[in-house]
């Protein structure tokens, strides 16, 4: 198995994927939303694959959705009168988190891609460095809106609404509410105050994403909050070769998630986008699937001698 990973590192396979992150994000968004015709039909896919969770934040009610949203699924289970927790869904999320940590945020989440694209719009960019306290909000949202409220605030039959999906998630409006309302007259007729509220949230994040980098991922996303807990223990990790690092601070300046890779390789906010790897002047930064510069040099020397 080790030989296989050595071979992958030599071929720079994942480095190539990492350098074409936009293409990977586009492909992931398409694979997560395969049923493109449904956007025109105004219906959603309800077949067997909908029982499987996708790794990123992708609404179940998106007409194109291939699978289910993990946050939505968790809330659906907790919201039924029979359960207060879902071991199955949390188990799947732990699996995803343990494999790659927040690499999912950086490469496989459609809403992450949406924010990345918006950020490309040429304007003055604002730093989130001084707004670090807002990052705790996503953990509060994870515990309170995704879990506790669903358990505590129940109706007469013992069930509850999916509070995060219903009152906060802008992805649901972008992917589900708006496309369905455009194509389906009955659904359009139901739009009211809740839609207005959610639309305002979506619009706010659209504007914020143009000036700040990934504000939703940093401050609100409960899925990102959950995956961040696994950055420290995931199989896929970032490494810094201390013998090569000259502590120039370039990685910290390049990182748009305000992570200082040279001091913390498992930071909660690191979405493993790889910008720091390219920025490092000495090649000190490497990932679990791409060799570090010193390893590559060693291999070169071994081949030559």
């Amino acid at each position: 198995m080790n030989r296989f990973f050595e071979w992958i590192k030599e071929r720079n396979f994942f480095s190539i994927l990492r350098k074409n992150r936009g293409a990977v994000q586009g492909a992931a968004t398409l694979m997560t939303n395969v049923h493109v015709w449904n956007f025109f039909k105004g219906t959603i896919y309800t077949g067997a694959a909908k029982q499987v969770c996708v790794p990123g934040l992708n609404c179940y009610s998106c007409p194109g959705a291939t699978g289910a949203c993990p946050i939505g699924s968790f809330q659906a289970v907790v919201g039924s009168s029979k359960f207060n927790f879902s071991y199955y869904i949390i188990g799947i999320l732990i699996l995803f988190g343990t494999l790659t940590g927040r690499l999912i945020c950086g490469f496989l989440c459609p809403f992450g891609w949406f924010q990345d694209l918006l950020h490309k719009i040429p304007t003055k960019k604002l730093s989130t460095e001084n707004l670090k306290y807002l990052r705790y909000l996503k953990y509060v949202i994870l515990l309170v809106f995704v879990w506790f409220l669903g358990v505590l605030i129940v109706n007469k039959a013992g069930g509850s609404d999916p509070y995060f999906c219903k009152y906060i998630c802008p992805q649901g409006i972008l992917e589900g509410g708006i496309p369905l309302a455009i194509a389906n007259a009955s659904i359009r007729a139901t739009l009211g105050k809740l839609f207005t509220w959610k639309f305002i949230i979506l619009l706010s994040f659209v504007v914020l994403s143009i000036f700040f980098y990934r504000p939703f991922c940093k401050w609100i996303c409960p899925l990102g909050a959950f995956y961040s807990l696994f950055n420290k223990v995931s199989f896929y990790k970032y490494h810094v070769d201390e013998s090569l690092c000259v502590h120039c601070g370039k990685c910290k300046r390049t990182c748009k998630m305000d992570v200082d890779m040279s001091s913390n390789q498992s930071a909660l906010e690191c979405i493993r986008c790889g910008k720091c790897v390219d920025a490092c002047p000495t090649g000190a930064i490497s990932t679990s699937l791409s060799g570090c510069a010193s390893c590559k040099n060693k291999a070169k020397n071994n081949n030559q001698s």
């Binding site: 015709w37 025109f40 039909k41 105004g42 219906t43 959603i44 309800t46 659906a76 919201g79 039924s80 009168s81 109706n155 007469k156 039959a157 013992g158 069930g159 509850s160 609404d161 194509a183 389906n184 007259a185 009955s186 659904i187 007729a189 139901t190 009211g192």
Partner: protein
Amino acid sequence: MKKGLKKVICIITAMLLLVPLAACGSKEIAANENFPSFKAEDFSGNKYTESVFKENEATVINFWYTGCQSCIEEMSDLEKMSAKLADKNAKLIGICTDAGKEDVDKEIMKILKSSKVTFPNLKIKEGEKMTDLIKSINAFPTTVVVDKSGKIVGDPIVGAINDEGQQKVINERIEEAISRNKKM
């Protein structure tokens, strides 16, 4: 030759993309279509078929399922509506679309009890077209008004009937059903 072929492919693709646009919304629940025939049973053992439409000036059918919290939350409003409908000789009937298995039926009875529901709720036993209609519904609750002759009145109403706007729409449909009956 190659350029011409490219053009033809573009035109065909464009046409294929436009065709689905013409097919918006549910075809099965459409205004003026006949409500499909069915055999059903309520949770007290009474049997129902499409003949129930003849017995009322207007029948309001509310489709729901046990996992739909909005459906469960609107039940007390529906119960109040059911009482008002009786004055107009109209009837409210619920159809629980995931009924059939023993544990689901138990859950349904629990839900109906906790919401103090007295209007009949049905589980569909037979009816292929009925099953197709239910499969075509992708947003719950969906409410449909049917006139005396068994024809659907107006478009289906999607979403809980918990605000004035929705109430108004339902009342309009019921009035239309009643006036249609008079014309016949």
